[in-house]
């Protein structure tokens, strides 16, 4: 089991959701997050004074998948959110040690 955390442009959420559904991913969580990467934010103007947006608004999509779904899910996220411009984001993958479905008590892959 793997947890896929994708930091993406807020505008890409709908496409990512559709792409994940198309490869059979049954559920996902979305968080509104702020942060910066190599660009270190960007410049804006408010009432005539420039300022740096240090923490750019992003969405973080979290999906828990079984081994066989890992690569299709990553590919779906990347394909759906890539614009080729800086700020497209990152996909991080980590191993999940255990999973439990609260309602039934099922564990492992069947809990996902």
């Amino acid at each position: 089991m793997y947890k896929i955390e994708a930091y993406l442009r807020p505008a890409s959420l709908e496409k990512v959701q559709e792409a994940l559904a198309a490869v059979g991913i049954a559920g996902l969580s979305v968080l509104e997050v702020r942060g910066f990467g190599r660009q270190r934010g960007h410049r804006e103007v408010y009432r005539g004074a420039e300022y740096t947006v240090d923490f750019v608004p992003k969405i973080k999509v979290e999906v828990a998948v079984k081994e066989s779904d890992k690569q299709p899910a990553i590919d779906a996220i990347v394909a759906a959110s890539k614009t080729g411009q800086t700020g497209d984001g990152k996909v991080l993958v980590s191993a999940i040690v255990e999973a439990v479905r609260v309602r039934t008590g099922e564990t492992g892959d069947s809990a996902l």
Binding site: R34, V45, Y46, R47, G48, A49, E50, Y51, F55
Partner: protein
């Protein structure tokens, strides 16, 4: 067609006010001339009085406008505090105006400079309630002026937002609205020395707006900038948290301005009130377009908060001469105000004077401009540029120095500013122990 449209409502009014017995008038009411020849003293009084009361209600709505505008242009962690200040000001304004303000501002015969009055009311019941008093009753006069009074203190509220200590602001606002504003107001509207000089300020570009704006300037100078606004010699803009609230506020203020200026005709005079509606709106529109244009060309961005400030700048600008300039002059006055306000906001920010809502620029600078504009654009040859300049500078400097003294006294006694920790936490929690938006929210701002 035109005639029919005109007669129908006239007949209706005549029928209603004369108890339906049109024939007892003994006048031909099928012509405009006949209608105007009717004995109209009482219906005229009723309509004039009603218009003043409607205007008072419209000016009341301006307090909601100020509250939402200030809320929108500041951070959400100070929202409860701003609403609280606005609630306090309008209420303490009305009560102090009843206790002393009204009779201080309109003292009758006095020494032309200062006369602290007592509470409202006088013994002559007939004069209170009839045209012996004015085109409106004594009570209408009071409530209309009372609604005006609190606006001066509300202007200050926005400029000092996000760092002033609530208790000190309450003391300051009370003294301002109870004494400073009525004393200054008596110089012109109470028949004092500026009135004697021939100074003209129709609805208060100087009496209300420059007064409020320069009071705000003094307070901000003593108070200092918000923490984090000017760091290492750099300006770090602090963004307002709700442009929808700011927009609601400005549109409400525009609505209220129909009463602010329209009611200042002090009767329902058809020609003057309609002229004032037109000049007021044209100036607001001119101010908005000019500020949008300057914002795009000079700031390279169509800044919505500047466009909103442009509307207000135009409204403040026309307030001194709304009944005495032609329609095209109103556009010019408003447009110049709208251009001034963008440059003023940027300049004031660059010299490290932190005014979150632009009150000093909108009300102070544009108030002076509007008053001077009467000397340039007025159709009345008796209005002189030099008198207008003397008058508006008198208001600006009195407001500035009186507020400066109050600010310094408060600073050296109870303190004017919250602690750094309270400022970081936000005044909502630090002063009121209550967030404006409960439950999960962005907490970074």
């Amino acid at each position: 067609m035109k005639d029919r449209f005109r007669k129908a409502p006239l007949l209706a009014i005549a029928t209603v006010v004369m108890g339906g017995a049109t024939q007892v008038l003994g006048e031909d009411i099928t012509s405009l001339e006949g209608f105007q020849a009717m004995p109209l003293a009482y219906p005229k009084f009723m309509i004039d009085n009603l218009w003043i009361l409607i205007s008072a209600a419209l000016v009341f709505i301006m307090h909601l406008g100020f509250a939402t505008l200030e809320t929108g242009l500041t951070r959400q962690k100070n929202t409860v505090n701003i609403l609280f200040k606005n609630i306090f000001i309008v209420n303490v304004g009305i009560i102090t105006y009843a206790l002393t303000g009204f009779n201080t501002m309109y003292p009758g015969d006095f020494n032309d400079f200062i006369s602290i009055g007592g509470a409202i009311g006088f013994d002559d019941a007939v004069a209170n309630m009839t045209a012996n008093y004015a085109d409106y009753t004594y009570w209408s006069d009071f409530i209309f002026q009372a609604m005006f009074a609190a606006t001066a203190a509300t202007i200050v509220s926005g400029a000092v937002a996000e760092r002033i200590k609530l208790s000190s602001f309450m003391v300051y606002a009370t003294l301002l609205v109870a004494f400073l504003y009525p004393i200054a107001g008596s110089w012109k509207w109470g028949g004092g020395w500026l009135d004697d000089m021939g100074f003209y300020d129709f609805a208060g570009s100087s009496v209300v707006h420059a007064f409020g704006g320069f009071s705000a300037l003094a307070m901000v100078l003593v108070l200092g900038a918000r923490k984090g606004k000017y760091v290492n010699g750099q300006i770090r803009p602090i963004l307002g948290h709700s442009m929808p609230l700011a927009a609601i506020g400005v549109f409400l203020l525009w609505l209220g301005w129909f009463g602010f200026n329209g009611g200042s005709v002090l009767s329902a005079d058809p020609g003057l009130v309609s002229l004032v509606f037109v000049t007021t709106s044209l100036a607001a529109a001119g101010g908005a377009l000019a500020s949008i244009f300057v914002s795009i060309v000079y700031l390279k961005k169509p800044d919505v908060s500047m466009a909103l400030n442009g509307i207000l700048a135009g409204l403040v600008g026309i307030t001194a001469g709304a009944d005495t300039v032609i329609w095209s002059s109103a556009i010019v006055i408003g447009a110049i105000a709208g251009a001034i306000v963008v440059f003023a906001i940027v300049l004031i920010d660059r010299i490290r004077i932190d005014d979150p809502v632009g009150a000093i620029s909108v009300h102070g600078i544009c108030g002076i401009w509007g008053t001077i504009a009467v000397g340039i654009f007025s159709t009345n040859p008796e209005h002189s540029l030099s008198t207008q300049i003397i008058g508006t500078l008198s208001y600006a400097s009195f407001a500035f120095f009186a507020s400066l003294i109050l600010a310094l006294v408060l600073k050296s006694t109870v303190g004017l500013r919250v602690t750094e920790q309270e400022e970081d936490e936000g005044l909502d929690l630090a002063e009121h122990g209550q967030p404006a938006y409960a439950d999960f929210q962005h907490i970074t701002n």
